[in-house]
């Protein structure tokens, strides 16, 4: 066991660096919980205006930033594509992909698919409960399932803007 570890040590280290560089580090499990926390706690804290705000606190209006966990995702034709269940961030903490829970009926048969963060459209100022995705159902359904414990996730990327896949929007 330890001999193995010694021999493979260098490789493991390289692998870890490569994985971090590739941005597939799935630190998302805990991280997005904090932005999403206000969504989870209904109304108890939000309306309360604290008269004594400490100095290290500044306002962040909901129109500027909201949680994304549990947000519904819609395709270009308005079709329901599922819910955001996780966000994958890279070593700098920047979001790289959103994991959506796609399809199914009453929770049966749904699949988790990683979607390129760039494919999500955020309407500025709008605090809507849905996000728009520039991908449609057909582009997502065949994607490999996202596994949190897999060393490399496969994410669905938006097709290059110059050549739409089949000429229709």
């Amino acid at each position: 066991m330890s001999a193995n570890a010694l021999r493979a040590g260098g490789l493991v280290l390289l692998g870890a660096i490569a994985a971090a560089g590739a941005g597939t580090l799935a630190v998302a499990q805990e991280q997005p919980a904090s932005p999403a926390a206000p969504v989870a706690q209904p109304s108890a804290e939000k309306p309360k205006v604290n008269p004594q705000i400490p100095e290290n606190v500044e306002p962040l209006p909901a129109s500027e930033a909201t949680g994304v966990l549990g947000k519904k995702v819609r395709g270009p034709n308005g079709e329901d594509l599922g819910l955001i269940v996780d966000v994958l961030v890279d070593a700098h903490g920047l979001p790289r992909a959103a994991v959506i829970d796609f399809g199914g009926f009453l929770g049966v048969g749904s699949r988790k698919v990683a979607i390129d963060w760039q494919a999500l459209n955020f309407s500025p100022g709008g605090r809507t409960s849905t996000l728009e995705l520039s991908l449609d159902r057909a582009q997502i359904q065949a994607a490999p399932e996202y596994k949190a414990d897999s060393p490399t996730a496969q994410m669905v990327v938006a097709p290059p803007a110059l050549s739409p896949p089949d000429g229709q929007k």
Binding site: A36, G70, K72, G104, L106, R111
Partner: protein
């Protein structure tokens, strides 16, 4: 005369039968509201996958850990209607907790409450059925229970799907809570039922009720162990099939996927609703072993068909086999356990034991199926789950004794062979 005093007669019996019909119908409604849908619901409330996984595991552990203690508790409480009432109210509370306070503490509480009450409600319904009809007619009664339960399941799945889609995921839980009211109303004609364990011999032979059979003797009973083994292997092969088939549909069926998955859920319920009474009658006439073997054999067949069929619509049709298995197993669990332990004073505990075996099978099944599918693809996973079903069928064929056959017309007094067979199986009556 002594037994007639214990048994309901005339209009009371009819009313009690109606009560059981309604109870099965609405309880199924309640139970469908939980399950995979909780994960969707908590996601919309901003829960992380880790948190959801924890809550669901807690519910599974609570349900498994409480199977046997809950069974013992139900055995100890004479009024099964009271047990059913408290269990249903626990479901109401659990549904309301989910709807109103989807925060960790309350969700965990709701999961534990739901896990425990699902272990008391099923056995209580089975015990009340036994008290209403006695063991000679239990098969057809359980068939009727299964029919109403599957109608309830099918309707609930459709209603909740619509409710979740058009109203809100939260509304599904309010709907579930509302469904507990008619379930409580169904208990009214059942409130004065005698406790089967305190009745005279349910076979009507007029023998007095006995003190409780020692636990060790019951849990080393060969028929009970083999039956629990069959039920566990069956669930091990069965539980992961539907989620895997659904997953395949989501990947391959395009826009219709959700509808086809709904079909995969509802088709077996339709089949159960249609065939259950006949299956119950068949189990009474031709024996439990044959019904068990037929039910278990559908699983390898279904696994094989899933593995080779590529057409998404075919998956929905193959699900009809699931309905056959569900009808057979759904009726046999309370029936065979009643054959073995019906008047030992440990009926509910024995049901809990089989329930625990089923719970273990279901828990392993999903992770096993998922892993095989990840490593070797869905067809291999379907085939391997089917192979586990084949093992269950072979176990039943080789080792499961016939537990029925104690009906008065099958066992005439003085018929030596049948008397010997009975006493070897129904040890509780011998000593």
């Amino acid at each position: 005369m002594a037994s007639a005093k214990n048994r309901l007669a005339g209009e009371d019996a009819i009313a009690a039968g109606r009560g059981l019909d309604g109870l099965n119908l609405f309880v199924a409604n309640i139970q469908t509201g939980f399950g995979p849908f909780i994960s969707v619901y908590l996601t919309t409330k901003g829960w992380t996958q880790t948190g959801i996984g924890l809550a669901l595991s807690l519910g599974t552990i609570a349900a498994m850990a409480s199977q046997i203690p809950a069974g013992a508790l139900v055995d100890a409480i004479p009024s099964k209607a009271l047990v059913a009432l408290l269990s249903i109210l626990a479901f109401t509370a659990s549904a309301l907790l989910f709807a109103l306070w989807p925060t960790p503490l309350w969700v965990y509480a709701a999961e534990v409450l739901h896990g425990f009450s699902s272990c008391t409600l099923g056995p209580a319904i089975a015990a009340m059925s036994l008290a209403v009809v006695g063991s000679g007619l239990l098969g057809p009664r359980l068939g009727r229970n299964a029919r109403f339960a599957s109608i309830g399941n099918g309707v609930a799945a459709a209603l909740m799907g619509l409710c979740g889609y058009y109203v809100s995921p939260q509304a599904v839980f309010f709907l579930t809570a509302a469904m507990t009211l008619p379930a409580v109303a169904s208990l009214v004609p059942l409130r004065r039922l005698p406790d089967p364990a305190r009745m005279t011999d349910p076979c009507g032979t007029g023998r007095p009720a006995r003190p409780r059979t020692p636990l060790r003797r019951l849990l080393t009973n060969r028929a009970l162990l083999i039956f629990a083994g069959c039920a566990m292997l069956f669930t091990l092969g069965n539980a992961a099939l539907l989620p895997l088939a659904g997953n395949t549909l989501t990947k391959e069926a395009g826009r219709l996927a959700s509808l086809l998955i709904a079909g995969c859920i509802i088709v077996p319920q339709l089949v159960v609703a249609v065939i259950s009474p006949a299956v119950g009658e068949f189990a009474e006439q031709r024996g439990r072993r044959l019904v068990l073997f037929i039910g278990l054999c559908t699983l390898p067949l279904r696994g094989l068909l899933f593995a080779v069929m590529a057409n998404p619509a075919a998956l929905v049709l193959i699900q009809a086999l699931d309905g056959i298995a569900a009808a057979c197993l759904g009726i046999l669990v309370p029936l065979v356990v009643s054959d073995i332990a019906g008047n030992t004073g440990r009926y509910n505990l024995s049901l809990g034991f089989v329930g625990l075996a089923i719970g273990v099978g279901a828990t392993i099944s999903t992770s096993l199926g998922g892993r095989v599918a990840d490593a070797f693809g869905a067809p291999v996973a379907f085939a391997s789950l089917g192979a586990v079903g084949l093992m269950a069928a072979l176990l039943a064929l080789w080792a499961m004794p016939e537990t029925g056959g104690h009906r008065p017309q099958n066992a005439l007094p003085g018929d030596g062979a049948s008397e010997a067979r009975r006493s070897s199986l129904h040890w509780d009556r011998k000593t």
